[in-house]
């Protein structure tokens, strides 16, 4: 049993007990506990089951490297799976649930996989993909999907909120241990703008647990003093609970701040993602202890030696009464001393080194502990908890020399610097033979825009493990002047690299040595992969799943690649490491989304009349980021009924359309006419002042990209209307040409789209309605079709265009956006007895289709040229050039075989499905029917009481009267006749009144 000690615990506050539950059982801990220390303190070592074999899993580590102790945390809208108990703070009322077991943690049916382990070798998943072929879909996938995977996906909407923040600094120091503090002090004293971030809520890192002496003080006291000094510096920002998740080009760093994980529901954002630009980064991220690979090393109770002393010193938790320590280096002896000080027993220290350890080993011996040099663990005994270890000669094959009963095994295989941030942006590593570790290669750092190093590794993250070298390294990394803080700790003997224990272990033992306890990868799996031809460490990772999932192999990678190297009989540096990718540990999706959720998930653009639409039954559709009324529903009315009513109202009375979203770009200057002649296919320079002209815009490839009415405002200025979706794009397109190609032309543009509210007033009663507003002569004579007038209309500052997209008598009125709602209401009021009513975009679409007017995005799709649409009349023959002209002369563009615009009338009057294809004789190379055309727009026309459609058909206009076949759902074929695309009022008499 693990338990809480009577005394001690530097991080807990015994005056503040906190209650929580684990799988429904009530437990208690203290303020300052992590979930892991609280669980251990409450006697709970078994916390989950492994991924593949469902083996019992206990807490193994005390920090970010923990592979096992993941839980589902919270309930309902605050439930989140895979929360790492070692890095999550305890809070009152926490609800924890273990993962990956069924029906219970104590008794798990999936554990039968464990008995069948020989059937789940390395590459099991890949092998199931391959053979037999039917088996993946019908056998393996359903079973694997049910039994594999970690945690449950949340089912409720996240109750918390999240945010981003931007920050800038000269130097970001990552890691609040003694290295980070030293670097921040050195840089802070130089006046640099420094940020120092620490992922835990506590400063000082390992040194405060391991008992170093700094500047003649205990590490704890020195850390307090350093913090005091730093807090007094206005140029230094300290941030706890903040992890540097990733490092990117140009000193861009993502910092993940867990603002309120420990105070859920207090109204603060749960997480904050800092998006930082740092001039330089010092990674003082410390090191992670490696496990040792001996048989049974995954049994609950086998822990990292450093974690064992963390639990005792920081949280006054005893992981067990009798702890056997297994090591290949001196550091683990510190754990023995800590346990002895806490009054716990250490039956033995098993040291793989034939010559044993140094000063620390001596100190342990002097406390009366058996130290067994040159020995190893042959096997750990136990099921859901360690019961003892069988000791062997490390040099041998694992024959038991003696059995030592114990309930904890504290192991240390040495330390691996945390090189993740260093590596994210291309920093390289070197294999340090003497220290048996990969550490940052100072000659190959990640470089910034200036080609210089943008990261410096410092302290343990740079491979420095002794206090004095840590302090000196960090001080110099920050360019510190004067002497570094002076440190003292015991001298240490050299580490002996141990990748499997004992070194001569046979297959039986190797199949029980876990490398990756989260993903159930054993020494035998990596060796099998090597035998099957896997040489690249990256391929081996994917094949065996070594180092995958939520911990990304923080404890398993180095051991795994060392085993692979041994199996391939080549040196470790030749095998190399897998790629370190951000984030360092998983960050929440909420933090990535930031504030973008709910109403502000995306910007929604609203016209000045949007509120009116909302309160008058508008059924909206998205058009770009705008929401436009598709139609206005009256009580009890269906959508199609509303659309039909609105169309009839425009044809018979008068309708109002909110056209404010149309793009409006002012183009002005001595060269503006010349410029627009290039932009449009037709001539705009000759348009007289006071008139309007419909224009087409093509890209360099000749394809039609936008259309709209161009207005000549004055001698040197034009207003170009674009489609709703095209406004920003076309403005940028114009500026692109002006700034990059024709930079010497005197033309200025301004996007005035949002300056004006624009209302189309369309229908036979349109003129009468405008006359009622008064102030402007809108008669046929004074205000002819395709002209515009400026003045006062009903007291509004208005510019009125007599243009029509419906085929009816129509005016479009533009007023300052701030007055748009007032004009809209004035028109509705003045036209009540004229039958005025708003109409939406769908009515607009049908009205224009009845007239055969094209719509960008319906009749065009980026492969259509104006000539395909019968718009030759809008293409200037006189102009020497315009954008797209040359392209339109290419052979394929002038081919008579091109699909061209026609009208389509179904023989039975029904409505063709939009996008339906007309089939041709024969089949293509893929065995599909040949095609000869497709529907581009299709509607029910209430005006004509039948289905109408526009389509592109091979040689279409030459084939009037022919009947095409459109196969639709369920083998049904709709027949439609090719007709003129103008279905209604071909002579244009209705708009020209």
């Amino acid at each position: 049993m693990s338990t809480r000690l009577q005394k001690g615990g530097r991080l807990i506050d015994r005056s503040k007990p906190l209650q929580f539950t684990f799988n429904g059982r009530r437990m208690s801990g203290y303020a300052g506990d992590t979930l892991a220390s609280a669980l251990l303190g409450a006697g709970q070592m078994l916390v989950g089951r492994s991924f593949k074999y469902h083996r019992p899993r206990g807490i193994m580590a005390s920090g970010a490297e923990e592979p096992n102790a993941l839980v589902g945390l919270g309930e309902g809208g605050r439930f989140e799976p895979n929360q790492r108990t070692t890095t999550t703070e305890l809070f009152d009322g926490a609800v924890l649930e273990s993962q990956n077991h069924w029906p219970s943690l104590e008794f798990d049916i999936g554990a039968i996989n464990n008995r069948l382990a020989r059937l789940f070798p390395a590459g099991f998943y890949y092998k199931t993909f391959m053979f037999p072929r039917f088996a993946w879909k019908h056998v393996f996938e359903p079973v694997i999907r049910r039994s594999a995977g970690l945690g449950k996906a949340p089912r409720h909407r996240d109750e918390d909120r999240y945010e981003h923040a931007y920050a800038f600094c000269d130097l970001l120091v990552v890691g609040g241990g003694i290295a980070g503090l030293t670097a921040a002090l050195a840089a802070g004293r130089q006046g640099k703008r420094v940020w120092l971030v620490e992922q835990t809520p506590h400063w000082g890192g390992r040194a405060v647990v391991d008992g170093a002496q700094i500047d003649g003080m205990e590490a704890d006291a020195w850390v307090r003093q350093a913090l005091q000094t730093l807090r007094a510096m206005p140029n230094v920002t300290l941030r706890e609970r903040t992890m540097a998740a990733g490092l990117y080009d140009h000193g861009y760093v993502l910092l993940y701040e867990r603002v309120a994980d420990h105070t859920p529901g207090d109204g603060r954002p749960r997480h904050r993602l800092w998006r930082m630009r740092a001039g330089h980064v010092i990674t003082a991220t410390g090191a992670i202890e490696r496990p040792l690979a001996f048989a049974g090393n995954d049994i609950p109770g086998v822990m990292l030696a450093s974690a064992v002393r963390d639990y005792v010193v920081n949280w006054a938790v005893s992981p067990g009464d009798r702890t056997v320590i297994v090591t290949n280096n001196d550091d683990a002896y510190r754990t023995a001393l800590v346990l002895l000080d806490a009054g716990l027993s250490v039956p033995a220290v098993i040291d793989a080194r034939p010559g044993g350890g140094g000063e620390l080993a001596q100190a342990v011996r002097e406390r009366g502990v058996r130290v067994l040099d040159g020995k190893g663990v042959a096997q750990v005994k136990g099921g859901k908890r360690v019961t003892g270890v069988s000791v062997c000669n490390h040099a041998g094959e694992g024959a038991e020399i003696e059995f030592i009963p114990c309930d904890v095994v504290a192991m240390s295989g040495g330390w691996s610097p945390v090189v993740h941030l260093w590596s994210h942006c291309g920093g390289k590593l070197i294999w340090d033979e003497e220290r048996a570790m990969f550490r940052p290669d100072p000659n190959r750092p990640p470089t910034g825009a200036d080609g210089q190093a943008m990261v410096t590794a410092a302290g343990a993250a740079n491979g420095m493990l002794l206090v004095q070298e840590v302090l000196e390294d960090a001080h110099s990394a920050a360019g510190g002047t004067g002497a570094a803080p002076g440190g003292f700790c015991a001298a240490e003997e050299r580490i002996l690299p141990v990748w499997i224990m004992p070194q001569g272990a046979g297959p039986e033992l190797r199949a029980k040595m876990w490398l990756d306890p989260q993903n159930d990868v054993k020494v035998s799996d990596v060796e099998l992969a090597a035998r099957e031809g896997y040489e690249s460490v990256e391929h081996t990772k994917r094949y065996t799943t070594l180092g995958m999932a939520t911990d990304q192999g923080k404890v398993s990678n180095i051991n795994g690649l060392a085993v692979l190297s041994q199996a391939l009989n080549r040196p470790i540096p030749e095998t190399g490491t897998t790629t370190f990718r951000p984030p360092y540990t998983p960050i929440s999706m909420g933090a990535i989304a930031g504030e973008a959720r709910g109403e502000i998930f995306q910007p929604m653009r609203r016209t000045p009349m949007h509120g009116w639409h909302e309160t008058h039954g508008a059924h909206f559709e998205p058009v770009g980021q705008w929401r436009r009324p598709y139609c206005y529903l009256r009580t009890g009315e269906g959508i199609q009924d509303a659309v039909n009513r609105e169309i009839r109202n425009v044809r018979n009375a008068v309708g109002l359309l909110d056209a404010s979203t149309l793009g409006k770009i002012l183009v002005k200057g001595p060269d503006a006419g010349r410029f627009l002649d290039k932009m449009y296919t037709n001539m705009m320079s000759t348009l007289p002042v006071g008139k309007c002209r419909y224009g087409l815009m093509c890209n360099e490839n000749g394809f039609l990209m936008d259309d709209g009415v161009v207005v000549r405002l004055s001698e040197d200025s034009w207003l170009c209307h674009t489609t709703t979706g095209g406004a920003d794009r076309i403005h940028a397109w114009m500026e692109d040409w002006l700034q990059c190609e024709w930079w010497d032309w005197k033309v200025y543009t301004a996007n005035l789209t949002e300056q004006y509210a624009q209302i189309a007033v369309a229908g036979p009663n349109a003129r009468a309605l405008l006359e009622r507003l008064g102030g402007m002569d809108v008669s046929k004579e004074a205000f002819p079709f395709m002209t515009w007038r400026e003045g006062t209309l009903g007291g509004f500052r208005a510019r009125v265009y007599r243009i029509s997209f419906s085929g009816e008598l129509s005016y479009e009125i533009a007023v300052p956006a701030s007055e748009g709602l007032a004009l809209w209401q004035a028109l509705l009021e003045a036209g009540e007895d004229l039958g005025v009513a708003p109409y939406g975009t769908e009515a607009m679409h049908v009205l224009r289709a009845e007239k055969g007017f094209i719509m960008i995005g319906d009749e065009t799709d980026g492969t259509v040229i104006p000539q395909d649409l019968g718009l030759d009349w809008a293409i200037s023959k006189k102009k020497e050039d315009y954008l797209g002209k040359r392209a339109q002369q290419r052979p394929y563009m002038v081919s008579p075989e091109r699909w061209r615009l026609v009208g389509l009338e179904t023989l039975d009057g029904s409505v063709l499905p939009d996008g339906a294809y007309a089939v041709d004789e024969g089949y293509n190379a893929n065995g599909q029917r040949n095609m000869q055309g497709r529907v581009t727009s299709s509607y029910y026309s209430p005006t004509l009481d039948r289905g109408i459609a526009l389509g592109l058909v091979r040689r279409g206009p030459e084939r009037m009267g022919e009947v095409l076949e459109f196969p639709v759902d369920g083998g049904r074929v709709i027949k439609a006749r090719i007709v003129d695309p103008v279905f209604y009022d071909k002579e244009g008499e209705r708009q020209n009144v």
């Binding site: 931007y166 954002p269 502000i600 910007p603 949002e754």
Partner: protein, 185 residues
Amino acid sequence: MSKAVSALQGEKHAGFVEVAEAGLRGMVTLRGDLGASKVKKAVKAVTGLPVPAQRRIEIADGKAVAWMSPDELLLMVPYGDAPATVEALQQALAGEHHLVADVSDARAVFTIRGEKAHQVLMKLCPVDMERFEEGEIRRTRAAQVAAAFWKSGPEEFTLVSFRSVAAYVMGLLEVSSRPGSELFE
């Protein structure tokens, strides 16, 4: 003029700072050769202010001139004065290649007021607020939309966005100024 209403009609929220829609403001875009003496004179004549240097804004007596790009200024005047300002500029710049346009109604204006006003902007705009100076204007983005802001008082910033996204920007400001979400003490 009584017909004219701003996008949010003065909506405001009190969080750890106060965020409010500031109502209608006269705004005139002027594009031209900012070094030309004719342009400088015209700007001076209508606002009483000099042409600002790069990324700067000149403010006095309820009027302002902001540098927007190497060939663009934004002139700010009371809302009702915008049409006359356009007129005056056009007359003064006759014969000079330029563009003048009233954009008063294309914009929404917000104020962020309080000791920690800059912290709200830090959450939304990729701008180094510690180095942001008085008299500086920054064209940037607020989360997903274009915006510009400047310091308009000892503890106040004014932010301008497009009118159509006024509700989105107010949503950003409101959520970013909620009590408890201060970035620093």
